[in-house]
């Protein structure tokens, strides 16, 4: 099933089931964010003072890594659509590598924070911080499996399916935009 945006007809990128998952996950995270915000406004000073113990440069660095990985998987979809499978494979490997960079940065950041005595039980802010970043991290790990499926598909000429490539990319973008929200809510808002 090859999709071409140049056609007049509209299309759903990837499998519709993946979009159902994306919308479900998005709503679930909106609930998490809402609960976080309610707790935050109930004790704003605790949240502000705790948030000041984080280094937002970790957050922005990981945001730039995630955005770049999202751009890369978007290019993979375009290349596969045009039949340039070597370029598509290169782009999905770049996405995978950037995902690994995110993992290394996030683990290093957690290690640094835990080393300062800032753990899940330190206070309510840090409970939310570790919960939100860890649940995002789990989604990212699932993303590696999804990228593995895309690589497997692209490597075998008989297996290639544009729909699977688009479905995998859609999942990876979900991981990206959830991080964009977490970055703003956990590191930056006042």
């Amino acid at each position: 099933m090859a999709h071409s945006p140049s056609d007049d007809a509209t299309f759903v990128p990837g499998q519709p089931d993946m979009w159902a998952l994306v919308l479900f996950e998005a709503m679930l995270f909106t609930l998490y964010f809402g609960v976080y915000m309610v707790c935050r406004v109930l004790d704003p000073q605790l949240f502000l003072e705790s948030q000041a113990l984080l280094d937002p440069r970790w957050g922005v660095l990981n945001t730039l890594v995630m955005l770049t990985s999202s751009w890369s998987i978007a290019r993979c979809v375009q290349s596969a659509r045009e039949g340039s499978y070597n370029a598509a494979l290169r782009d999905v490997f770049i996405t995978f590598a950037l995902g690994l960079v995110f993992v290394v940065l996030k683990v290093a950041e957690w290690a640094s924070e835990i080393g300062q005595g800032l753990t899940f039980t330190t206070n309510e802010f840090f409970s939310f911080y570790y919960f939100l970043t860890a649940i995002h991290f789990i989604h990212l790990l699932v993303g590696f499996v999804v990228l593995g499926i895309v690589i497997y598909q692209l490597r075998g000429p008989a297996r290639r399916s544009q729909e699977i490539v688009e479905t995998g990319a859609t999942y990876w973008h979900l991981v990206d935009f959830l991080w964009v929200m977490i970055f703003a809510l956990v590191y930056l808002i006042r």
Partner: protein, 89 residues
Amino acid sequence: MLVWLGLSGISVLQLWLGSSGGAAVPVANAAITLSVLGMALVKVRFIMREFMEVRHAPALLCRLTDAWLLVTAISLFAIYLAGMAGTFG
């Protein structure tokens, strides 16, 4: 390329805004909060429209993704502003 540059630029701007002030004891700031959150939502919409190709998707998907953005924006802004106004005591 342009979308990625724009998204990255907004992220750096968010960092600058979120780190501005430099007060030893951080204080609540509605302007910074609403700006930073608004920019995050704009970034998410760009990711959806451009990277996820919602721009080329049927109207239903466009509406559903925009509805999620709207619900998220209204919920977070309303809770934050209600908190600032002392609604939660």
